[in-house]
């Protein structure tokens, strides 16, 4: 069975930004599959690269800005060495690039995201995000199941 890594990230003290983190925390508590590793984190950092390199499929869960609040999107992540000078946090593509270049493996990866609305200090989600959070959980479960069966995932 394929090894799945779920990386949910964001700041739980910044309203919708904490969505990915929250989803990962919930999954961490309920997950019983030894083939699914779940890591809630605040940011994507270079130290995650060795862990990423050991997975067959990586699913990033995040909250994004710019679209219709509550809209869910899933897209494949490609390796990209994004120019950046502040190296505490990375994009999913940059993390995949580090995994590939330094640890010799670039598993298939997807970014599952929801468009957020509220990013000020707070520990609750905006109504738009709260209204679609169940859909996001269900979509994540489907991705995990499909990923476990094969590395061909229908986003």
């Amino acid at each position: 069975m394929a090894r799945i890594l779920v990386l949910g990230y964001g700041n739980p003290m910044r309203s919708d930004d904490g969505l990915g983190w929250q989803i990962a925390v919930e999954l961490f508590r309920t997950n019983h599959s030894p083939d699914v590793e779940v890591l809630p984190c605040h940011q994507l950092t270079p130290e995650l690269a060795p862990t990423v390199s050991r997975a067959d499929v990586v699913i990033f869960v995040d909250c994004e800005q710019g679209g219709t609040p509550g809209e869910i999107c899933c897209r494949e992540v490609r390796c990209e060495a994004t120019p950046l000078s502040f190296t505490h946090h990375l994009t999913p593509g940059a993390l995949m690039a580090l995994s590939s270049e330094l640890f010799g493996a670039c598993p298939r990866a997807w970014l599952l995201s929801m468009q957020g609305q509220e990013y000020s200090a707070g520990d609750s989600f905006s109504p738009a995000v709260a209204a679609h959070i169940c859909d996001l959980r269900a979509r994540l479960q489907r991705l995990i199941q499909e990923g476990q069966g094969s590395t061909s995932v229908a986003c």
Partner: protein, 479 residues
């Protein structure tokens, strides 16, 4: 004091440091740098908003000061609370706290050296800013990037194994630690030590081999006489957890030894300046500003007689050979940092193989027995002090903290002036000039608290004005 008739260069914000700051360079009428200031533009107010909170909350609350070195704040705060309880913590708790602190130093030093400073060392000070990052490092020398990631992961995983999570763990509590170490976790940490040791050793060798190419930087990067301060064991050995304060002068002579950190107000003054939120501590017997001193890796290597572990002792002896006096150039902070990583890994192995380390007695329980307590330890960036006063109900009524970056504030300002005088010429700023000024600051690895989550870019902006206030030049480096 610069006035409006002179030109000013503004570097805002400074990049690849922990937090937010800007630099202003003041030029005279001939276009030469005559003054420099490092402005810390964040205000966070931890000392005020903790007033009224139960003292037992302080460790967890104070850990939020920083997302990079929460363990150090946790430690200093818990030690201040130990003093309020008037307890002696169990020996195993003492050892576990030490391991926790050493792991923190490894991960923080790895971040500073490999992520933030190695681009300057590997790609050069004049490199394209767009490539001065971990990706530029892996393109040039992938093994360095890989080692940096592995080493930081090593430190973080120890923190996670002991504290339950890698950022803001609340495992260190007043009176000791909340949970003992399991055999499984001890063995897992021990199994990772050989790789960490190998990384520390080969990085030191690599660094020592390239320093010859940085002669100009060594000569001009904060290379001036100051005092150096740090805590040392009774025998003068390196320690990060407890000991007496030792101060050496630039000649390398010990001018104060065994000072009680709890009485810091007797010998450290704190000056406030109007242009920065960062306090400027100074050694009171020398007055302000002559009481300028440095803390952190360079200072610790200057104040310690020995490390107390075999490989680090060899490296320290070699380090002391760099200069007959104290080692003065702030460029050598990098070298000192690498020796400390080596020491930390060696010392962790010693502590983890101690027969007592799995003992279940890890916490002393008591109520508050004193109204005032001071906790002091060596954080990655230098000496860290937490000082609390409580009322009869155990609520905080006053708090004061002196953080490593504060101790170094005066030295950073003087260092920026020195490097700017050497490298900044004329009315135009080149990326190389800007980066050298920033690189000097990065050598100190200042932590201006990065726990505030920021959205958006962190660009570097430099502006040059003429004597009429007209903008002459404008440079922007993407974040």
């Amino acid at each position: 004091m610069p006035d409006a008739a002179h030109k000013t260069i503004l570097i805002d914000p400074v990049t690849r440091i922990e937090g937010h700051a800007k630099i202003t360079l003041h030029l005279d009428d001939h276009g030469r740098v005559e003054d420099a200031r490092f402005h810390v533009t964040q205000f966070r107010g931890f000392e005020k908003f903790c007033e009224g909170r139960p003292f037992s909350e302080m460790p967890a609350l104070m850990a939020r000061i920083c997302g990079i070195c929460p363990v150090s704040h946790l430690m200093a705060s818990a030690k201040a609370c130990d003093a309020l309880l008037a307890v002696r913590i169990p020996p195993t708790a003492d050892k576990l706290r030490r391991i926790f602190g050493l792991a923190q130093v490894v991960q923080s030093h790895a971040l500073s050296f490999f992520y933030l400073s190695s681009p300057d060392l590997l790609l050069g000070m004049d490199a394209d800013p767009a490539s001065s990052n971990i990706f530029g490092v892996y393109e040039k020398k992938p093994e360095v990037a890989r080692d940096g990631i592995r080493l930081r992961q090593f430190g973080q995983q120890i923190i996670e194994r002991l504290g339950g999570k890698r950022i803001h763990p609340a495992w260190v509590v007043p009176g000791g630690v909340s949970e003992p170490l399991t055999e499984l976790n001890r063995d897992a940490i021990l199994s990772a030590i050989p790789e960490a040791l190998a990384i520390a050793e080969r990085t030191l060798e690599w660094f020592k081999g390239i320093t010859e190419g940085f002669r100009e930087e060594i000569a001009s990067f904060g290379n001036f006489p100051t005092l150096f301060m740090g805590i040392v064991k009774k025998d003068g050995g390196l320690t990060f957890y407890d000991g007496g304060i030792r101060i050496v002068n630039s000649a390398g002579d010990v001018i104060a030894n065994g000072l009680d950190p709890a009485e810091y107000q007797e010998y450290i003054g704190e000056k406030n300046e109007t242009w920065t939120y960062l306090k400027s501590p100074y050694y009171m017997p020398k007055g302000y500003p002559d009481g300028i001193y440095r803390v952190g890796p360079l200072a610790r290597m200057n104040v310690a007689d020995r490390c107390g572990t075999p490989r680090a002792d060899q490296e320290l002896a070699e380090f002391h050979e760099l200069q007959r006096t104290a080692v003065l150039s702030s460029f050598h902070y990098h070298h000192a940092r690498l020796i400390e990583i080596l020491y930390c890994v060696e010392r962790m192995e010693q502590l983890l193989t101690d027969p007592e380390i799995l003992s279940k007695h890890v916490r002393a329980v008591a109520g508050p027995n004193r109204e005032e307590g001071v906790g002091c330890c060596e954080a990655p960036r230098g000496t860290l002090m937490h000082h609390y006063k409580i009322d009869e109900q155990g609520l905080i009524r006053w708090a004061n903290m002196i953080i490593a970056t504060g101790h170094n504030n005066m030295a950073m300002n003087r260092g920026i002036l020195q490097v700017a005088k050497h490298f900044v010429r004329g009315e135009r700023l080149t990326p190389g000039m800007l980066n050298r000024v920033e690189a000097l600051i990065r050598a100190y690895d200042p932590c201006l608290s990065c726990s505030t989550h920021a959205f958006g870019e962190m660009p570097l902006v430099a502006e040059l004005y003429n004597s009429s206030g007209e903008l002459l030049d404008h440079a922007r480096k993407p974040g």
